[in-house]
């Protein structure tokens, strides 16, 4: 058989298949579409993504999207329709009315893991310090330890709010700050990253249309973390989003996406990565578009002895085969070099979630694609580079007993002297929508091998997305992770070295 013959057969086969009249239900759906409440739907869609598709970004997006509904119901959304729209049809068992009524977003003690008596999990004692109350309705998008050993977090609840803490255990939600919230009509301020340097605090993010469909990058500065001032308007902010910021030797470097990624996990509005630099946090310059920015967005950035490392995720559909891994290094924050060498990371379901330097190597964590032989699922992954980020190779992650291994991802990492610690989530490898479990791994050999820390009871039905070192332990931010939970609840743990 020749190719031409196959072509002829194909055309004939398709021509024969005249079946498939448009179902009436679909025509009705289209006719009803203008009355669908898109904001509500965006919550449900992201909220019911297959659990093993979930990245830290998604965990936060679900919480942010839920919060947007609250904000709209609270007054921004005049004439908000309470009528549930037609089903998007792709979720057979959607959680009970999630997002359709503001009350369902309020924290419910029934779904929050109750603060458990501390037990030892690894060398640490894990205390769940927040799972109920107002704080649990705020998704922590980023948190940093300040020069005076206090902590500042940015969170999204009804709107962006600063959280301050002396010890990581008790947090105050600062009053809404007009400087941070000010946005044009129908727009919301979304903060994604925080940094401190040169006696100034910098927050970056975006200003998005109320349904998080379109938006522009934004930055703010503050001296106390409570009152914020918008950065100078810049051409480089248009149709983009800043996702993270870090202080460098000569000011700040922010990274994000060219094109506003939008609220859903397919990132329909993103075209590629983007980076910005600023001396003072007030005036920003966008790095020129470059080849290494293609087909991926940056979601995080850290300092290294040689400059900076940034990471992110590849855009859906960008590559036919395995894409180059979404990890970049840069000496100046302006010119970025994309890493290579990994074939099991990158791609829509397998983002790189964090990276840092330890000794003479770089270590990254995220989600890796399992080989087809293992069911082509996704599992926690770690990688390392010994040549400054140009080539990467896989580290070895303890996946626990059982085959196939538990799926999940490693979402953030920190120094755990003399080694490293990473946090994330795992779930049973059944492929069903089941609750996940928060997970912690430690590496004592510079990121080459990772051992899972035994589960603490507080890890059940939870995911961890962000870890901050305190000097004596860690503060970990996360959320309830249960497809059947009626509400999204933010969680905060404190881990202290057990005596």
């Amino acid at each position: 058989v020749t190719d031409e013959r196959v072509e002829v057969e194909l055309r004939a086969w398709f021509a024969d298949r005249t079946d498939g009249d448009v179902p009436e239900s679909l025509q009705r759906y289209l006719a009803d579409l203008p009355s669908v409440e898109p904001r509500v739907d965006s919550v449900r869609r992201t909220g019911t993504a297959r659990p093993f598709d979930r990245s830290p970004r998604d965990v936060i997006r679900v919480l942010v999207a839920a919060a947007v509904v609250v904000a709209l119901a609270a007054g921004l959304g005049h004439g908000l329709s309470q009528r549930p729209g037609p089903s998007a049809g792709n979720v057979p068992s959607s959680p009970p009315s999630q997002g359709s009524m503001p009350s369902s977003v309020a924290p419910s003690t029934a779904v929050a893991p109750s603060p458990s008596p501390s037990v030892l999990a690894g060398p640490y004692r894990w205390d769940l310090v927040s799972s109920t109350g107002e704080l649990s309705t705020y998704a922590v998008v980023d948190a940093i330890r300040l020069h005076d050993d206090t902590y500042l977090a940015m969170a999204f609840g009804q709107e962006v709010r600063a959280l301050l803490s002396q010890d990581g255990r008790s947090w105050t939600i600062e009053p809404a700050d007009p400087g941070l919230l000010r946005a044009s009509t129908d727009h919301l301020s979304l903060v994604a990253g925080l940094a401190e340097g040169n006696d100034v605090l910098v927050a970056v993010g975006s200003s998005a249309l109320f349904d998080i469909s379109i938006g522009d990058a934004r930055a703010w500065t503050s001296s106390d973390g409570v009152r914020w001032q918008a950065a100078e308007p810049s051409k480089g902010f248009t149709d983009a989003a800043m996702e993270a910021v870090v202080a460098g030797p000569d000011g700040f470097v922010a990274v994000g996406s060219d094109g506003f990624p939008g609220a859903n996990t397919q990132l329909p509005g993103a075209h590629g990565a983007a980076a910005w630099t600023s001396m003072d946090g007030r005036s920003w310059t966008r790095a020129p578009a470059q080849a290494s920015f293609a087909d991926a967005i940056m979601t995080g950035v850290r300092r290294t002895p040689a400059g900076f490392v940034a990471w992110g995720q590849t855009l859906p559909f960008a590559h036919p085969g395995p894409p180059p891994p979404p990890i970049w290094t840069s000496a100046d924050g302006i010119r970025w070099v994309r890493g290579r060498g990994i074939s099991d990371a990158g791609g829509p379901g397998s983002p790189i979630s964090s990276a840092m330097s330890i000794g003479d190597r770089l270590v990254a964590v995220g989600t890796r694609r399992l080989p087809d032989a293992l069911g082509a699922g996704y599992a926690p992954g770690a990688w390392m580079s010994t040549d400054g980020g140009r080539t990467w190779s896989s580290a070895i992650v303890d996946e626990g007993p059982g085959m196939p291994p538990r799926s999940g991802g490693m979402f953030d990492l920190e120094v755990d002297k003399p080694g490293l610690i990473a946090v994330g989530r795992t779930e049973p490898p059944t492929g069903q929508e089941e609750p996940g479990s928060a997970a912690v791994w430690r590496s004592s050999d510079g990121g080459v091998t990772w051992v899972a820390v035994p589960d603490d009871p507080s890890f059940a039905r939870a995911a961890m997305s962000r870890i901050v070192a305190t000097g004596t332990g860690f503060i970990v931010f996360g959320a309830v992770d249960d497809p059947n939970a009626a509400a999204n609840v933010a969680l905060i743990w404190v881990a202290e070295k057990a005596p």
């Binding site: 058989v1 898109p38 397919q266």
Partner: protein, 162 residues
């Protein structure tokens, strides 16, 4: 949405051919309609609605194929399709239909756009957001796979299908 109404039948059939399952095609089309409705403000050149909507729809289908593949923990002879391919099941003895099931998600999408929608390579590339060289190579491998499958005696292949 008038624009979507005009092309609803074509869109639904595109999804049905790519997914090989009428129910899933309906879900994917609904999902794409919703995304398009929400993303309408992002579309700068509204003359290009058709290509833009195709791209959203194909993305929705692709996600479904990807998930389907991932949720199957048993190695199957066909990478997509599995046991849920109703349209495929009804034509199980049909050589071409059966061979199509054996293609990867990426290959199946380009084959449907090329031989059912009759789109030129460049337009397929635009819809998928990939270089036209990639479209060409996917088509090439798809045809190769189809040819190998069609050449094989049908009785043997039918037996290995789940």
């Amino acid at each position: 949405m008038r624009l979507a109404e005009a092309s609803l039948a074509t869109s639904y059939r595109l999804a049905a051919h790519v997914l090989g399952d009428p129910a899933e095609a309906e879900d994917a089309t609904q999902e794409a309609l919703l995304l398009a409705w929400r993303g309408w403000p992002l579309l700068r050149d509204r003359e290009r609605f058709g290509a833009w909507f195709d791209r959203i729809l194909v993305n929705a289908c692709y996600e479904r194929l990807r998930r389907r593949r991932r949720s199957s923990t048993v190695a199957m002879p066909a990478e997509v399709g599995g046991g849920r391919d109703e349209l495929g099941a009804s034509v199980a003895r049909d050589v071409v239909g059966r061979a199509l099931q054996g293609l990867t998600a990426e290959q199946r999408i380009v084959v449907v756009l090329r031989y059912w929608r009759d789109l030129p390579i460049e337009e397929i590339a635009e819809r998928l957001g990939i270089p036209s060289g990639t479209v060409r190579s996917r088509l090439h491998y798809a045809l190769e796979a189809l040819r190998a499958d069609i050449d094989r005696p049908p009785s043997h292949s039918v037996e290995v299908l789940p």
